[in-house]
């Protein structure tokens, strides 16, 4: 079975033949950075295309069809357009913070992106507090959003940023709690080990009812964290024009746009990793024939298949439900999702005590 670990280890050995320790590490860092940035950009393009296509299908349209086959190059054309656009310099904004905000948002999502295990040995950061790291870094993005809203010196952006802040910080809780449920089940926070442990069955099957509840809670909370779908209050077009990035133009706006799409991917990828086994193929204990057949499908395909399944659910939800009011949004989190998550953690503890 081919794993990317073989490739990376071969590359490491190859570099060590010719270079000393320090230079090897340096070249590897550069390579990792380049690869991550490239994958990040390509995935963003792909996601934008996927979203436009699926959204169109939900509305009985065809979506982009003109540029390239099936409109695949549409997002490339969009990127070229956004790069050519003028970055409008505003007079009464806090210039420094205004510039930094976009980068903060994108750095937060890029850091999170590096920790996702795409395949065995194919993640930039893998250490023993992986889940904790994911949660910590992904919530840095809210700083960027608040800064963007504050520094723009506009009412729309301010209200949008405040709403976004309230929403992100609230939903962070149930996000973390539902991931904690899985940490209780697995007994480790290291993402590679979590995936490894699901070789005998994905956690959503292994964990029984508490895992399923945690999965649903995570999907809802994660979806709210991406500021999309029925939870797109921060960008409510009808009342706030575009929320916290109203004043941004050109590629500065592109950063927020990119980060938003990649956050969707990251949330889906974490859901896939924690609940659906990450890159691990579907294994059922006892059915060795099935397990072998499943092993022939490359792990990367498994990972992206599961991730895009989660993204599809997010888009499905987005086009099904009307937008929530701010009090309904907070009620959903504090009165429904969080109590459920707390009870669910106890349930999971009982489950682990009984069955493991």
């Amino acid at each position: 079975m081919f794993h990317f670990k073989q490739l990376t280890e071969w590359l490491d050995a190859f570099l060590r033949q010719y270079l000393n320790e320090g230079w090897t590490l340096f070249v590897e860092f550069l390579l990792v950075g380049a690869v991550i940035l490239t994958v990040y950009a390509v995935l963003a393009l792909l996601l934008i295309w996927t979203e436009r296509k699926i959204c169109a299908f939900f509305q009985c349209r065809l979506g982009p069809t003109r540029v390239g086959p099936f409109g695949l190059l549409q997002s490339v054309a969009d990127v070229i357009k956004i790069l050519l656009k003028e970055i409008i310099r505003l007079n009464h904004v806090d210039q420094r913070l205004f510039r930094i905000a976009g980068f903060l948002v994108i750095i937060a999502s890029l850091c999170t992106f590096g920790a996702i295990p795409f395949d065995k040995g194919l993640h930039a950061i893998d250490f023993n507090i992986g889940v904790f790291y994911l949660l910590a870094v992904s919530s840095l993005g809210v700083v960027g959003i608040l800064l963007a809203g504050w520094s723009s010196n506009s009412k729309y952006t301010m209200i949008g940023a405040m709403r976004s802040g309230a929403q992100l910080i609230s939903y962070e809780l149930s996000c973390g709690l539902s991931l904690m449920t899985i940490v209780i089940l697995s007994g480790t926070m290291q993402l590679s080990q979590i995936v490894e442990m699901q070789s005998t069955g994905w956690f959503i099957f292994k964990g029984g009812i508490p895992a399923i509840i945690a999965f649903v809670v995570y999907l809802i909370a994660g979806h709210a964290e991406t500021n999309r779908g029925p939870f797109d209050l921060p960008e409510a077009e009808s009342e706030l024009t575009a929320g916290y990035h109203t004043e941004y133009s050109g590629i500065q706006f592109g950063f927020f746009y990119l980060a938003e799409y990649l956050n969707m991917f990251i949330i889906a990828a974490i859901a896939a990793t924690m609940f659906l086994g990450g890159w691990m193929p579907l294994h059922v204990t006892g059915w060795d024939g099935l397990n072998q057949v499943m092993d022939y499908i490359p792990p990367v395909v498994w990972f992206f298949g599961k991730t895009f399944f989660c993204i599809f659910i997010a888009l499905w939800v987005r086009w099904s439900f009307p937008r929530l009011r701010i009090d309904q949004l907070l009620k959903l989190e504090w009165k429904i999702l969080m109590p459920i998550s707390f009870v669910n953690i106890i349930l999971m503890a009982v489950w682990v005590l009984l069955f493991n």
């Binding site: 299908f57 939900f58 009985c60 065809l62 069809t65 499905w316 086009w319 099904s320 429904i336």
Partner: protein, 161 residues
């Protein structure tokens, strides 16, 4: 207990909504891909694509060059150019249509001309492809070359009415 019941009921209702949108996802797409489907005919009788003057098989139209349409047009879109010709029967000088000019570039498709025409000589057609590179090309002549006034049209119409 109401709390749990509300949650379950809410989940059930949300699932129903998602089921409906899933049906929409699988439904046939309604988008018309325009340049590819140019051959497709849309029988929209009321569509105001472009003004047209119907001609019969003998290349005859019904316009008597009375100019009512020209007077009624709020934009000066229509220009009726008439000429004097001796009548075939009586031999007297009679006004007939020389050129019927229609500038689609200034037309608002208000349909005052077709409504006011006493002979029903002009009507709307479904041609909507008006895109050209220069504005001069938007000026159309509606009567065909060598066409003349239909003779018995008026009497036939009077009989039917």
């Amino acid at each position: 207990m109401n709390y749990i019941k509300d949650i379950l009921l809410g989940i059930w209702h949300l699932m129903q909504g998602m089921y409906i949108s899933l049906l929409n996802l699988l439904r046939k797409k309604v988008t018309e891909q325009y340049p590819e489907n140019r051959g497709k005919v849309f029988p929209y009788e009321r569509m105001r694509g472009s003004l047209a003057m119907p001609h019969n098989e003998q290349n005859r139209h019904r316009c008597t060059a009375c100019g009512i349409c020209e007077m009624n047009c709020p934009n000066g879109t229509i220009e009726v150019i008439s000429k004097k010709e001796p009548d075939e029967v009586t031999g007297k000088e009679k006004r007939v249509l020389d050129r019927y000019l229609y500038d689609v570039g200034s037309c608002t498709f208000c349909s005052l001309c077709t409504v006011s025409c006493p002979q029903d000589a002009i009507e709307w057609s479904n041609d909507f492809e008006h895109a050209v590179f220069t504005r001069g090309k938007l000026l159309y002549q509606l009567n065909r070359e060598g066409s003349s006034l239909a003779k018995k049209e008026k009497t036939e119409k009077a009989e039917t009415v």
